[in-house]
Symmetry: C2
Subunit: 356 residues, 2 copies
Amino acid sequence: MSFKPISEIGEFGLIEQLSAIAAPTIKNAPGLVEGIGDDCAVYRTGGPTVQVATTDLLVEQVHFDLLTTPMHHLGSKAISVNVSDICAMNAEPRYALVSIAVPRNVPVEMIEELYRGMAHAASRYGVAIAGGDTSSSPSGLTISVTMTGETTQERLALRKGARPGEIICVTGTLGGSAAGLKVLLREKAMMLEQLRNNEPYNKDVMAELKEYTGAIRCHLLPEARHDTIRFFRDSNIVPTSMIDISDGLTSDLGHICRRSGVGAHIEEARIPVMPDARAIAEEFQEDALTWALSGGEDYQLLFTLPKGRYDDIAGNRDISVIGTITEAEEGLLLTDIYGMTIDLADTEGGFDHFRQ
Amino acid sequence: MSFKPISEIGEFGLIEQLSAIAAPTIKNAPGLVEGIGDDCAVYRTGGPTVQVATTDLLVEQVHFDLLTTPMHHLGSKAISVNVSDICAMNAEPRYALVSIAVPRNVPVEMIEELYRGMAHAASRYGVAIAGGDTSSSPSGLTISVTMTGETTQERLALRKGARPGEIICVTGTLGGSAAGLKVLLREKAMMLEQLRNNEPYNKDVMAELKEYTGAIRCHLLPEARHDTIRFFRDSNIVPTSMIDISDGLTSDLGHICRRSGVGAHIEEARIPVMPDARAIAEEFQEDALTWALSGGEDYQLLFTLPKGRYDDIAGNRDISVIGTITEAEEGLLLTDIYGMTIDLADTEGGFDHFRQ
């Protein structure tokens, strides 16, 4: 009998196989509106609203490095990434359950700082931390946050629902998180190099980081686009489909297309690449567009609207229209600034935890 | 600046400090009925029901050992322990979100087996697995399950609510899980010893395990007392307070007493110690009562009822009345089979993840 390593089927392959195993359990759940496959599970509880719920696992050495991540920021991020999933359903975040597995040698003060970061972010989004679980860990800090949110059936936005001819919109700017990570990893390498050479830590290097603050902030302290959800509510807008950008624009647009049974055509010139990311990419001799397309962790909202609703968002300078939904056969295309059209399906995939 | 190791304040101390940090976040949550401090968070969503939610983290080498734990059992247990928390609120379990962090070298087949165990248990309890998250792990498997449940305000049972004069009841038998763990740890030690000596694994030893099946099953494959919740519903019983026994009878009764502002007096002769646990304790020259009082992980329900409701449970042979709720000043007392009264407060505490 031979065994298959997870890296062979990848993270999305694994999710697909596990979803198939879990599928029979949803048969007896008449209140379930959406199960596995969207940013949140969606279910009815008999009231006037629908409930949404999401969960995110943050694992040391996989999602964060304690050498480059202040605990307060980490706590804030753990809350924000879940709020981002709730916002992707066009819902209001409500309650969070927080579990942590902590190595025995971690000082209490560090965990308190982590929770202060969580409490600070939770308060800002109007989320109540209502429970959780604590455990020791033989190695490495693990944080699991589950969050519920609330919306109405009418306001609910799923990944499915995009139709050919609709416009594709994205909030804020992209590529900042990948650029920030790049800078932090270089900083870490320099720090370790100085330690190896027994040199004192050079503060001048730290000072240089100032010019990268915007991008580093994108990576360490992302903010969920709760403001966009409020804007939708006040403007009476309901996206026909929506997702938050956690894997990368290409991958997440791919999710919308697959779930909606459509294709998409976006234009490079319209993609809001973060100016700081462009500057950093130049310094590293890398490509900022690639970061914007597949860097991930930007936590902006990607959504579709009927063309006729364009005027409703035209006044919001924080929303960019980047392309059009097409028929499924047309696939996932990008027209670059030279007018060349590229098939994004080849570059799709986003971040895969199990790829080696 | 000096730092405090978590072991210095213990798991309950840590939870207390973190709860204090999280407390301000619940200010803006008018729908929250109960936050941190019960088996589940409880909140209203505008419908005729109240929602409950709980989360449990299972960490390799802390909560389970892959050498002695079949993956199918582990999956089932991950679901059951959460259902147990939902039952402790006198609620019906509904939806589960499952997150796993998996080392890269773990074969897909193992994770599928884990999910089959989860799906099997979920189906039996009527729970739908509705979402989750997957991640790689630098070392060790971590499983995080969050579950929601539903009940009505009238049927809701909290840890608080016990009043002096009420009877203290427990379902099933106790001490089985601790006894099963004891046997499994001895088995593991023998297995490792044989490996060290390059001996082939001795199947005769495995065969001997048969007589311990009941206790091992208690540990590896505990069942939540969903049947008791159904019995309560059919008999129109609402416990005045309830908790599931995860830390141990003494510790969990202590939780009810503290939250209710009462004391408790239980009798050794009435505690339903599992007969298999008694036999195993004799073999190991240990004390089965200690396992029943502080072994933990039995996942039975501990609850209180007004004396006048005794007749309603008298016919249920799976429920034992083990004592009486007293005034707070009387503390937590046990009268042993010789008529001696012992202060359980000295032995309280239950399992602490951070004690060394």
